[in-house]
């Protein structure tokens, strides 16, 4: 995606560029208003972060987009069609991995394809490719309990990639890994966004992470949950991964986001 065009269309990207659009979505859990009349658009081929304090409805929004939860009102449009349930155009990476403990890495990664009825040899070949892509070659026969948290997370990522959905929903995918691994993952994620031509919707708690990886950052605020701000970093994305963290715009955006979020942190 070209950064210049994005800068032109900043206020209202044209319709065909929007992969996922959230329109007036509300969701209550009993008396708890998790989401209230939320609208948000996710440009195709880009990574959008959802950033906000705990309990502001990020997971809820992601599950509604995935079709796992029904909104009380409003609708989700993916590629021009309203969402009525889970579909082949969206894949979920779960915060708690959600791996089958009795299945090998290979079967776990191929599980999405297995459920779609893809023949065994075909789905395993595909799974092996993505296991290599996420750096787990050699662990195909291992069981999830034999892997570290970061490796399990990569199994979840490989599973989502292998079904080849155009939209990837990632719920705090890096929360279970240490800082070094996390930085490595962030770089890998940037490469994925670059190469895979998919739309990424990425939930995170970390301001730095959001600014580092995102084409667009949606700041959510709680009670009632709403989109308070949308930030599109423009200048540093093209300067190479190594320089992002030193870029003045990067640092300014991090400060700015912290300033707007700090009131909501006890």
């Amino acid at each position: 995606m070209s950064q210049t065009r994005q800068a032109f269309d900043d206020a209202q990207p044209s319709d065909q560029d929007i992969a996922v659009s959230v329109r007036g979505v509300s969701k209550n859990y009993g008396a708890v208003e998790a989401l209230k009349n939320m609208s948000l658009e996710f440009p195709r081929g880009q990574l959008t972060s959802l950033l906000g304090p705990s309990g502001c409805g990020k997971t809820t929004l992601l599950k509604i987009i995935a079709g796992l939860l029904k909104p009380d009102s409003g609708e989700i449009i993916v590629n021009g069609k309203a969402v009525s349930g889970p579909g082949p155009n969206r894949a979920f990476v779960f915060q708690d991995f959600a791996l089958l403990p009795w299945a090998s890495v290979l079967r776990n990664v191929a599980f999405g394809l297995e459920l779609r009825g893809v023949p065994r040899s075909e789905r395993e070949a595909k799974a092996e490719k993505y296991i290599r892509d996420v750096g787990l070659a050699g662990f195909e026969r291992a069981f999830p309990h034999e892997l570290s948290g970061g490796m399990r997370q990569r199994v979840g990522l490989a599973r989502a990639l292998s079904v080849d959905s155009k939209v990837l929903l990632l719920d705090e995918p890096f929360s279970a890994v240490d800082e070094q691994t996390r930085r490595k993952f962030q770089e890998d994620l940037l490469a994925l966004v670059e190469n895979e031509n998919k739309t990424f919707i990425f939930v995170t708690h970390s301001i730095e992470e959001a600014v580092y990886v995102s084409d667009q950052i949606a700041i959510l605020l709680p009670r009632p949950s709403r989109v308070s701000e949308i930030i599109r970093p423009t200048s540093f994305r093209t300067k190479g991964v190594g320089n992002i963290r030193r870029d003045p715009e990067y640092l300014d955006i991090v400060d700015e986001i912290w300033a707007s979020l700090r009131n909501y942190v006890e």
């Binding site: 889970p86 959600a98 297995e114 459920l115 779609r116 309990h145």
Partner: protein, 253 residues
């Protein structure tokens, strides 16, 4: 590892049998034979074939009852676990069944079904089924929500969620219910032979007691325990083969 666990098993068996031998020699009671006397009787019954005739009788209600309890129990348990309504309807029945004093029910069964195989099968089922049903239903209900959600998000049909997620996830608890159910079934089979009509192993037990042949009586009891242990081990093997990864614990816990 395997050698050590085998060694430990042999050791614990030796301790139990040694204690039995000593207790028999003191003797604790004139009706309590020593281990060696009992083994001697067992050998005699094995050689003259009477123990095999006895088991041919006893195994009939046992196998039929355990088979019915397994199929029906797991089926009902799945159903109850999957549906709130059925839990509400059936769960209390099995909890009562589990707690009910079986001896009090036997006369009713005999009145209804006579003294034949049917009544004995019923006794085995009453003993074995509740724990199988209750374990299965609670295992199904405790399937991690996140795994089911994962399945649905990857487009699993209800059948896939049941066969590929719920049942494998529940299988360790289902199997432990099965083990408990089978041991209870063994007790049920012997109980029915003692309380309804003396046949098979129950007949050896009651007959040898009536003629004060205590070694034979204990030999029969010993043999049924041995058979139960062997069967439970077999069940464990089957479980390990069927669900290879399941003894590896839950990753998401």
């Amino acid at each position: 590892m395997i050698h050590r666990s085998l060694l430990l098993k042999i050791l614990s068996a030796a301790v139990v049998f040694g204690a039995w031998e000593i207790a028999g020699r003191i003797p604790v009671s004139y009706a309590f034979p020593t281990f060696l006397e009992s083994m001697d009787s067992l050998l005699r019954m094995t050689l003259d074939g009477s123990i095999f005739h006895a088991y041919a009788e006893t195994l009939k209600p046992l196998i039929v009852g355990v088979a019915i309890s397994t199929v029906l129990g797991i089926g009902l348990g799945l159903w109850i676990g999957l549906s709130e309504k059925f839990e509400w309807l059936f769960s209390p029945i099995f909890i009562v069944m589990q707690a009910a004093p079986l001896a009090a029910l036997i006369p009713l069964l005999v009145m209804a079904y006579g003294i034949g195989l049917t009544s004995k099968v019923f006794v085995v089922c009453i003993m074995a089924m509740p724990v199988i049903v209750l374990n299965t239903s609670s295992a199904v209900r405790n399937t991690p929500e996140s795994l089911k959600e994962m399945g649905r998000s990857f487009l699993a049909k209800d059948r896939d969620v049941l066969l590929k997620i719920i049942i494998p996830a529940a299988s360790p608890v289902i199997f432990s219910g099965l083990r408990l159910g089978v041991s209870a079934g063994f007790i049920g089979a012997i109980l029915s032979e003692l309380k309804i009509t003396p046949t098979g192993v129950g007949d050896i037990i009651s007959y040898s007691r009536s003629i004060a042949d205590y070694p034979s009586m204990y030999a029969a009891i010993f043999s049924i325990i041995l058979l139960a242990v062997l069967f439970l081990n077999l069940l464990e093997k089957i479980e390990n083969i069927l669900f290879e990864g399941n003894d590896r614990g839950y990753v998401t816990d």
